[in-house]
Amino acid sequence: MKVSARNVDGVEIIILQGKITIGAGDSQLREVITDSLSNDKQNILLDMQGVTTLDSSGIGELVGAYTTVTNRGGKLKLLHLPPKVTDLLQVTQLITVFEVYEDESEAIKSF
C-alpha cells in the first residue's frame, strides 16, 4: 500500500492506494492513523479511490481505525469508496457505522 496525506481546513486527508490485506498494508494503515493522532490531527478523511484489494483484515483495520480515532475525540470518515469496497461494508452492516462521501469539499465541510 502507498500512503500520502495532505491537510485541508484542518482535515487530514489520507490517500490510500493499493492493497489493504492480511500481511500487506494492514499494519501500515494503523501506523498512519497513530501518526496523525499524535500530531493532533484528529479529523481524518480516508480517500479510498485507489484501493485495489481489501479483505476481511483490511475491513477490520478500518473498523479499528474508526474506534481509535473516535476514542481520541476525533472523527474518521471515508471518501471515494470503490463499489466493491462499498459491497464489503454493506454485507457486514458496517456501512451504517461509517460516514461516506463522494465529494471531497462536501466531506471537509462536514467535519
Partner: protein
C-alpha cells in the same frame, strides 16, 4: 474424467504473499468457465479468505506447513477445497459478525464473507489434525 470436468491443484507454503497465487488461479478458472469479472472477483475473495485462515489460524504461519487447494470444475459447478496442517477449530463457536455486539470488532468476518460469496461453505476435520474447508458455487443458475 468427463469432458466438462476439470481439476486444478495447487500447494503453497504458509506465507501471506502466496494467498494471491491461489486467488489468481480461482479468478482465471472462473473467467475460463465464462464467468464475468465481478463473479470471478467475489469467488477469488472467498478463496483469499479461506487461504488466509489456513495460513494464519491453521498453520500459524509455520512456513514448513503447507496449504493444499483443489479446484473442481464440473459442468457449471465449482467446488474449492482448502486444507491446512493445523489443529482445527469448532465452527459452532465462531461468533456472528452481524450481532450488534460484534459489529465493531476488528476481526471475525472471514468466514462470513466466504458464506456471502459462495453457495455453500463446509468444514471437515481430519483425524491427523488439519482443517478441510470446502466451498461450492453454481456458476450459472441451473434451469430445469
Amino acid at each position: 474424467m468427463k469432458a466438462d470436468s476439470e481439476r486444478i491443484e495447487i500447494t503453497i507454503s504458509s506465507r501471506f504473499e502466496n494467498i494471491e497465487l491461489v486467488q489468481v488461479i480461482a479468478e482465471h478458472l472462473c473467467e475460463n468457465a465464462g464467468l464475468d469479472d465481478d463473479g470471478s472477483h467475489w469467488i477469488g475473495m472467498a478463496v483469499r479468505e479461506g487461504v488466509a485462515n489456513a495460513i494464519k489460524h491453521g498453520n500459524k504461519l509455520d512456513i514448513r506447513k503447507k496449504v493444499f487447494a483443489t479446484f473442481d470444475l464440473s459442468g457449471e459447478s465449482l467446488a474449492i477445497r482448502i486444507a491446512d496442517e493445523g489443529e482445527g477449530f469448532d465452527p459452532g463457536k465462531v461468533s456472528d459478525p452481524l450481532n450488534p455486539q460484534n459489529l465493531m470488532k476488528t476481526s471475525g468476518r472471514g468466514i462470513f464473507y466466504m458464506k456471502t460469496f459462495m453457495d455453500q461453505v463446509e468444514y471437515v476435520f481430519t483425524a491427523g489434525g488439519g482443517t478441510e474447508l470446502t466451498m461450492t458455487k453454481q456458476l450459472k443458475p441451473q434451469t430445469d
